[in-house]
């Protein structure tokens, strides 16, 4: 898979001077660069959630991801280390592109494997300013995309939802880095054209050959709060077993990934 990715990158770089990429190609490559690096990945993530007064809360978790195939369904396993009251809780998601995700929550004190209903993907992820969709990706098919501007460093895309009733934004603008194809900034606008939410990639590192956003900040410009998401100990292509994403490992977390 990595060799395929390399081959694609090689072909793309050779092809690049010959013709400009179409908008859909930029979007597809940005989607893969953001959410499908490697066949699987593991990282230790920290969310520092700050309100307008600067009071902070912290969430720390290990996240494991495995792709069914590039651009398709995925499995996510999220194990919480902090805060104390959710420690050892596990959140498992089987993500599909054509149907609602399957989700489970494991509550260790009760030994309870709870199936949870699919939820609005544009609601807060564990109390932070990031949405579920920001963490696991928004399907490119949900929006129409227009190349608004091409600068020396960025493709600037304007995205309009196909089903405006299902989301809180009227449109959003994304700056995609021309080198890495990582979205490095996104701004969400309401119907009045006012920007009320902003995402910024603050630090990018190349890990295992994959450019990776290791620090990102989401600002809620209406309430004045923000969240900084940091990824540490990022590793790709670890050969994470498929059955890691089943009930067995909810009850018995895969410690080799949690104690790194």
């Amino acid at each position: 898979m990595r060799s395929t990715a390399l081959a694609v990158a090689l072909v793309a770089s050779l092809a690049a001077p010959a013709r400009a990429l179409t908008v859909d190609e930029v979007v597809a490559r940005a989607n893969l660069a953001s959410y499908y690096a490697g066949d699987d990945g593991v990282a230790r993530a920290t969310l520092v959630i700050a309100d307008r007064e600067g009071r902070t809360r912290e969430r720390e978790f290990t996240i494991l991801r495995k792709d069914v195939a590039d651009g398709e369904g995925q499995r996510y396993y999220v194990y919480f280390h902090k805060p104390g009251d959710v420690r050892k809780t596990v959140f498992l998601v089987h993500k599909y592109l054509d149907q609602d995700d399957d989700r489970w929550l494991y509550l260790p004190a009760l030994d309870l494997v709870k199936r949870i209903a699919a939820s609005d993907k544009r609601t807060s992820f564990v109390g932070s300013h990031f949405f579920y969709e920001d963490v696991s990706g928004r399907s490119p098919a949900e929006d129409t995309h227009v190349l608004k501007e091409e600068t020396a460093r960025h493709y600037v895309l304007e995205n309009t939802p196909k089903h405006p009733g299902s989301v809180e934004f009227a449109r959003y603008t994304v700056w995609v880095d021309k080198q890495t194809f990582l979205p490095v900034k996104a701004e969400y606008q309401d119907a009045q054209g006012k920007t009320y939410r902003r995402l910024e990639a603050q630090q990018v590192e190349t890990i295992g050959g994959f450019p990776t956003v290791v620090k990102a900040r989401m600002d809620d410009l209406q309430t004045g709060g923000h969240t900084v998401l940091t990824f540490e100990k990022v590793e790709y292509d670890q050969g994470i077993a498929e059955d890691t994403f089943t009930e067995r490992y909810l009850r018995n977390p895969p410690r080799e990934y949690l104690r790194r």
Partner: protein, 406 residues
């Protein structure tokens, strides 16, 4: 107490066998104070207070080459009985002796089944007193001293849980909560319910099994159980004591995504082994129990869950107060507010056949990552004094808890 010693024994054994591996000493836990009191007068009890305790939990996990050792225990000071005690909630060793087999040996919490606070095939020990007194939901589950073996077969998985010794639920005994005692209300003033536990011996244990697999996104399971009722459902007229009749149960469940939510169905056939011909009026008859439920998000971060269940007594009901069909309806609302720091929930059970209800409103507010404040109540309503929730009417209570987690 015997169980506690067993748990500690396994802990020591495990610690000796495990070479030091983990770098950080992973000790966590919480400190909690809780108070709760009756909101109505109860002439069967002298004390208005139902809950008055301080609790210190330590939670310890250690990985070794052999397996993982888990230990979690509460040091509790109970102001109502004026005593301090240690409650070991987990003391077990987790092993994977073969690639497809997991083994958990020692004190552990066991849960399976699909119901939300309605248990059909989960016949593992429960603590109903904690549940009605306003302790955290965690305490509804009594830990069991057990061996749990799970075989992962690919196509299907098999779970077996063996409790060598019979352990009853913490049922309504008159220790703190008053209830219907057969001929009138019973409460702390009447002393605890006289019961006769089965002789302790290896033959008297409990065996529970579950065979489960995924069926295209739906989780299907078959269940079996052989043991005893966890509550003193039988009565021995010769001794005047309540007994724990033998019980066998066979069941099935299905759970999956449906209509933007989660649907579940479960059924179980309870065979009363001490009254196979259903003639003994002092031993509960066999029953069929069934449950159907559905839950979904109704508004962002607000969920609603509904369940309907039926307990149908087979053959003619036992003398007196048992209806042949006992219906129940439950509704649960959970809403998250203020960036998920405030949780409001209400769980309601209503039985149209018994004409009684139980309401559990609760509000929890996270003051900081460490500090959680919970206010809640247990309301019991009933047209009759001898129905399940009707008998608890005088125990209607409100409680408050403050927990500091580390």
């Amino acid at each position: 107490m015997r169980g506690r010693r067993l748990g500690l024994g396994i802990l020591l054994l495990g610690a000796g066998a495990l070479p030091a591996a983990a770098a950080e000493p992973p000790i966590h836990g919480f400190f909690e104070v809780a108070a709760g009191a009756r909101m109505v007068d109860d002439d069967r009890a002298a004390d208005r207070f139902l809950l008055e305790e301080a609790r210190f939990q330590v939670d310890f996990l250690r990985d070794g080459e052999l397996g993982t050792l888990a230990f979690r225990a509460d040091l509790v000071h109970d102001g109502i009985d004026g005593e301090s005690r240690v409650e070991v909630r987990e003391g077990n060793l987790f092993l994977t002796p073969w690639p497809r087999v997991d083994l958990k040996v020692g004190r552990q919490v066991l849960t399976w089944g699909t119901g939300d606070l309605v248990f059909l095939n989960d016949l593992f020990p429960k603590d109903w007193q904690s549940f009605f007194l306003g302790r955290d939901d965690e305490y509804l589950k009594q830990p069991a001293d057990a061996v749990r073996a799970t075989w992962y077969g690919g196509a299907a998985n098999l779970d077996l849980a063996w409790q060598p010794l019979f352990a009853p639920d913490r049922y309504l005994s008159g220790e703190r909560l008053s209830f219907w005692g057969g001929a009138g209300s019973r409460g702390p003033r009447d002393g605890e319910l006289p019961t006769e536990e089965p002789a302790r011996g290896l033959g008297g244990g409990t065996l529970a099994g579950r065979l489960y697999r995924n069926l295209g996104g739906w989780e299907g399971a078959l269940y079996g159980f052989r043991g005893r009722w966890g509550q003193p459902r039988g009565f021995d007229p010769a001794t005047g004591r309540y007994t724990f009749p033998r019980l066998e149960a066979w069941g099935a469940s299905l759970r999956g995504a449906l209509g933007g939510g989660v649907a579940n169905g479960e059924a179980s056939w309870y065979r009363s082994l001490d009254d196979r011909d259903e003639k003994d009026p002092w031993v509960p008859n066999s029953q069929v129990r069934a449950l159907a439920g559905f839950g979904r998000e109704v508004w962002p971060e607000q969920n609603l869950g509904l369940q309907a269940y039926l307990e149908r007594t087979l053959c003619t009901p036992d003398a007196g107060f048992t209806d042949q069909n006992r219906w129940g309806l439950t509704a649960r609302y959970t809403g998250l507010f203020l960036r998920q720091t405030l949780t409001l929930s209400l769980f309601t059970v209503y039985s149209p056949s018994e004409d009684d209800a139980h309401l559990r409103p609760r509000a929890s507010y996270q003051l900081s990552d460490e500090l959680l404040v919970t206010l809640g109540a247990n309301l019991f309503l009933g047209a009759h004094r001898d129905t399940f929730f009707g008998q608890l009417e005088d125990n209607t209570n409100a409680y408050a808890r403050v927990r500091y987690s580390f």
